[in-house]
């Protein structure tokens, strides 16, 4: 009941969905359309609230126990309540003007700037860490520099028609990525198969 039944449910649904792909019958289409594709977003909505609830719980604990940097957890909680209040007062929800305002002027600057820090980190790493320390690292660096040179009008080397960087992208890069994609694909399928067959069950938690 605690463990066996969920695994049986996964098995039945998983096998059904695999067969459904191969047997396009009306009845199987009906189940596919009106249950398999219709219900999960609703379950997802509840599942996703878990993360938010635990964020609130962690923040509150931090403030209560006066852990390191507990003051910042207050900032998190205040921000959370403010935007939720703004969104729930207005019937437009996430599209309410104050919510859009906070999104445009507070969420966007933080997340886009946070990622732009990486420009500095990559420059610093280029200077201090990217070394041709082995044959493989050298191949990688040479290929990277050629690709980076595509911005410069350096004659035949970077000419758009016979560009060397384009050759790298569409020949060796394609081959490399295809080998990786096939591996990733087999990995995804094998994990999914193990889940459906009940071999892999760590996601159900321990007990």
């Amino acid at each position: 009941m605690k463990r066996q039944l969920p695994i049986i449910i996964i098995f039945i649904l998983g096998v059904f969905m695999v067969f459904q792909y191969h047997i396009p019958h009306e009845t199987s289409e009906f189940f596919y359309e009106f249950i398999a594709l219709d219900w999960p977003p609703i379950i997802g909505m509840f599942a996703l609230t878990l993360g938010i609830i635990s964020l609130v719980r962690v923040s509150i604990t931090r403030v209560r126990q006066r852990q390191d940097n507990w003051q910042y957890s207050i900032v998190t909680l205040v921000a959370l309540t403010t935007i939720m209040a703004a969104g729930f007062i207005d019937t437009r929800g996430a599209d309410a003007p104050p919510v859009r305002w906070m999104f445009d002027n507070m969420i966007i600057p933080v997340s886009s700037t946070m990622f732009s820090l990486l420009a500095f980190f990559i420059a610093s790493a280029a200077y201090r860490a990217f070394r041709a320390r082995s044959v493989l690292a050298t191949i990688l660096l040479v290929s990277a520099v050629i690709v980076m040179l595509r911005f410069f009008p350096l004659g035949p080397l970077t000419d758009p028609e016979s560009e060397l960087s384009r050759w790298i992208l569409t020949v060796p890069n394609l081959a490399a990525k295809r080998a990786i994609i096939i591996g990733v694909g087999l990995g995804i399928v094998s994990t999914a198969l193990k889940v459906v067959l009940g071999i892999e069950r760590s996601f159900l938690g321990r007990d």
């Binding site: 191969h22 201090r128 990688l140 096939i182 087999l186 198969l193 193990k194 892999e200």
Partner: protein
Amino acid sequence: MFVVGVVWDLSADDIRGRNNVLMYEVLRTPKMEGPFPVDEVPADDPSYRIFASNAYGEAGWRFTSGEWDTVGQVPSGATSLENRGGKIRDSRDFIPDYVDFQYRVIAVTAEGGRASSPTTPPVHSRGHLFHLDRILHIGFPAVLYTVLILGFIGAAQRGRKLYIRPLAGIDAVDEAIGRATEMNRPILYVLGLGAADEIATIASFSILSRVAKKVAEHRTELLVPCYDAVVMSVAQETVKQAYLDAGRPDDYNEDIVYFVTQDQFPYVAAVNGTMLRRQTATNFYLGVFYAESLILAETGSLAGSIQISGTDRVTQIPFFVVACDYTLIGEELYAASAYLGREPKLLGTLKAQDWFKVCLLAVLGLGVVGAAFNVDWILAIFRMSL
């Protein structure tokens, strides 16, 4: 559901030749117009037919042979289109049973030129229970793969020895631990930003177990800063067990594995601080990594540590390769953990994957022969409409 796969060869001017094909249009005859309400269908016109059933409602449709319906357009480079339809009588995508359809494909060029293919032989529409092409091309390989996985996991569980080749990064582990002992400096092990149920993290746990055991034997200091609370508790168990196995349970203390914070950049800042202050001799980065891979590897290389990294996030591999001494690329991370941990599930999967790849290579070889020498029956295998 009605599905007709229309498959064609690329136009001589698509991608090659003058390279000016913009798209392909797929046409179908007889042209179907409708749906009309049943009482509006003229009784004396034979081109109209009424379809009715209890389950799907009723409607009238007009069929004009010799005229064409456009069933779809696809961009240049494509060589197939699925003409899909349903059995609901009054829906625009209705396709009745027992009608002969013919198709033709038109290549449209940038200059507005239209070149038509010959018309196909008629296709008879009829309900099928099985999608045969899918069963052959997808169902069959999937079943084969399942059998391989089950077989090898079973074999591994029964204790059969399954060979996995040694990996360079793994051989370096012992050496790197030895070096730290000599220099009397600590070892840093970073499990990455993944949750405890991600495969890369699980693989990292079994490598950590091996590293911790060696460390305990050498009596070197180990540091494991964690990003996720669940990962931390699993890592604690792993390290504790490893110290026990090494026969030095007294050397274990709760501060070896510790929680830092669950914010990406502050976490990295803290780990960087540890590297520089403690002058770690060896750094392991094994697990799921995102943008922080670069910052960690750079700082470690600055501090002069030996670095062993591995992740299945392909985008981060270049940074590890150029800044670390050894890198486990993608699946190598899983292989490394199977190699060290001998966990049947992982080992069996890896083996099955290898053998399935052998099958793929064999099929590929067959295809290449077929394509090179124009062997029709082989090429027919590769012409599929899924």
